[in-house]
Symmetry: C2
Subunit: 458 residues, 2 copies
């Protein structure tokens, strides 16, 4: 980043701080009109940011004050925990109004936040058409294309011309979805025939028929498709939006790229946290939520750590005779663990980006084992040399170098095979991989080092 | 994922395998016509996938055979390492043709792959206008908005009407950029006045003036802005594209969301790998590249591991007297390390998603310390109890529980403070954090456990 941009960033932050203070003052003075007007004038994402910067109790007060005057575009931009809190504070009528104003995918997100009976009550107050649509969306499983898609899109018959399509759009005016990048061409049974990007529509004379300029759908997204697969297709084909069709190829919805960017962020965060044994994390987590997300994995680790201790205790006699073993144990374990997590991170990333499908898996396993062999030889030699100079014991140096090499090979092999196996079994390769690999590596490290030492040195 | 979708996925993979065999056969038989026709008929992203599935020498052969018949859209869809290889194989004329056909951001990517003197030679053969444009793009630093933007966009004066704009677009026809989602409104000095999304253009009667329907730019992207900041704004404001302006607010380029999705993936991968001490990774890495990406960090870890050993050696006497200490050491270190990497992963993720700016940092530090205290009490009690039962020694149990608690507090504090400090110093918080935090935690773990044991037990 250049100096200039960080300077302007600092200025923006200062301005933001002043604004947040003004908002806090308005909440304290219960100045609803100023608050509503100011928020409405900001970009919803910026307004949501400003509200989230308030202490949580002031945030709740602001939401309570605003009620129906809280723009629904701001509500949907709030982080999960704040949005859930806001929905809880708002009266039923304000929630119903937000459901009415928002696109169906955003409305579904709000509905997900509601408790069962409150959801029923609010749904009953909606227009029957809207209600049926939202209930259909909610019927799809979470984290699928069905949940992410909006049911607002533009679909026209294939025999229409460019001119007719533009006139039709002008006629609908504000009834059109707020944001769309392409028009879907359908047959009378609402089956998807093709796609006309708006840029292509603009390029063509009025009398050209849509069927002559439409292109085949690049993707086949069905409502039950996992959101990760949807995001993968958006990235692969550089899409801004894509149609969702049911199993009879009938057009049922549209997914836009902004939702996919969120999915990609989410999946990445999950992988990163899972590899570090955290089950979930959010900036607004309480201490209790933080503990709950971490203690279970620490408890698992507690058990595996004692397995390692049990291995060491087998060699109690050897350690009593040669305390250097106790001094050097952590070196073998730390380096083996590091090699294991290196391989693991590479494997989890490659699985997530679909680089380990089919034939390339075998090549990757071979590469990891060879790399582990070379790393083991280099680092093993280094550890061996330091040990020889420190303890003035050639045999101890050879033992630790050999143990290092064996541990590296084992770490390299388990670092790639454990996540691949979990993936084949249908499990998430990021979750649990780390505990497996590191436990296996620890056990291997202690066993080879202490075992070899017992055989050779005593 | 449902059974049905994984079944259809398996079918797709089978079809792909057959296609890849056909492509390999065509390469062997030097059937250039079939090869070019088949690749051209596929989506460029699929064609690139198919080519990447070939063994690398067959891939090179295919590129050599095709030469100028390799569609430039496929070239740009290849993974970095394959694209670099292909550009090297292609004759100058084919590269020049690709530069001519591609949008400027993609053309810049190809130019980056070329060696200095070959780049000069090829640029000289281009039309002067194209050449000047590409040289300007290359002058921006890597990983900035200037490198990612394309100089092809649609800009019109504010006094134009909707109808005039559509007629203008029709007149340009194929000269328009392939993909765009919005039209930029500029003054005679080419300064950006506003944005009209294509969907908004479509909604309006022909005689409406653009100045009446344009909205203010949501973002201010300058060519020198870091790509991570650009991606953050795309995500925050749910953008499909955004204008880039120079410091005089003159419109100089356009960035589209597909490039931002790639940036987000890239930055995430970097964080994930950096936290696991891998400097880079690619599916097509050779064994040598893999070793080169990992050995330096292992060497750093080797030194820090011996620091931990040095701490242990200070307590040599204590271990000789009580071998249970050697048996239990790994438990304290493993759990402390786990707690440290949990906190670290949460902090690195929160920094990446800008959740740790300003006031929330203090709150987060407090939360991490409190969570560490509670986790330390719970896990410390567990470890203490197991120790008491195993070694039948109450005092040893109390010592290890106390050491556990101290280590957790230390791990929690360093897990959040180290990445935050690196960030404030302008360094990447993911890189090096892990080595710092885990070394600090290891040292603390050995020191408190062995130190307390020496004081209390001996």
């Amino acid at each position: 980043m250049t100096d200039q941009s960080s300077q302007s960033q600092a200025e923006t932050q200062k301005a933001d701080a002043a604004l947040v203070r003004d908002i806090a003052d308005a909440v304290a003075e219960r100045d609803i009109r100023w608050l509503a007007r100011t928020l409405r004038r900001m970009h919803p994402a910026d307004a949501a940011d400003a509200l989230e910067t308030l202490p949580y109790d002031e945030f709740e007060e602001a939401v309570e004050l605003l009620g129906e005057d809280l723009p629904s575009e701001i509500l949907i931009e709030l982080r999960d925990s704040y949005r859930e809190g806001a929905v809880e504070m708002l009266p039923d009528q304000a929630v119903a109004q937000a459901l009415d104003e928002l696109d169906s995918d955003d409305a579904t997100t709000i509905l997900e936040d509601l408790e069962e009976d409150r959801r029923e009550r609010i749904l009953e107050d909606l227009a029957p058409v809207d209600r049926a649509e939202l209930e259909r969306s909610l019927a799809y499983e979470e984290e699928t294309a069905g949940r992410l898609m909006q049911t607002e899109f533009v679909a026209v018959p294939e025999f229409w011309s460019v001119g007719e399509t533009i006139d039709h759009a002008r006629g609908l005016g504000a009834e059109l979805p707020e944001t769309f990048y392409e028009i879907y061409v359908v047959d009378p049974a609402h089956r998807l025939l093709g796609i006309v990007p708006l840029a292509a529509l603009l390029r063509q004379p009025r009398d050209v028929k849509l069927e002559d300029i439409m292109h085949d759908p690049t993707t086949t997204l069905t409502p039950d498709l996992d959101q990760e697969d949807v995001a993968f297709q958006f990235q692969k084909y550089s899409l801004a939006s894509a149609p969702v069709t049911d199993h009879a190829n009938r057009l049922v919805g549209m997914i836009t790229v902004d939702d996919m960017v969120d999915v990609i962020q989410e999946e990445h965060s999950e992988d990163l946290l899972a590899l570090s044994n955290v089950s979930s994390a959010d900036a607004s987590d309480t201490v209790f939520e933080t503990v709950k997300a971490r203690v279970p994995w620490l408890a698992v680790n507690l058990l595996t750590a004692f397995i390692a201790s049990a291995i060491i205790s087998v060699f109690e006699g050897a350690i009593e005779q040669l305390v250097a073993l106790a001094i050097l144990m952590p070196v073998v374990v730390a380096l083996g663990g590091n090699a294991g997590s290196q391989g693991l991170a590479v494997a989890v990333r490659a699985i997530a980006t679909r680089e380990l499908d089919g034939a390339s898996a075998r090549r990757t396993i071979l590469r990891e084992v060879l790399a582990a062999l070379i790393n083991g030889l280099i680092i093993g030699a280094g550890v061996g040399l330091i040990t020889v100079f420190w303890f003035n014991d050639l045999r101890l140096g050879i033992v630790i170098a050999a143990a290092m090499l064996a541990t590296f090979l084992w770490a390299g092999l388990s670092g790639i095979l454990v996540p691949l196996t979990l993936k084949r079994l249908g499990a998430d390769p990021a979750v649990a991989s780390s505990v497996f690999v590191l436990t296996l590596t620890d056990v291997m490290a202690f066993f080879t080092f202490l075992g070899l030492a017992s055989l050779v040195l005593l």
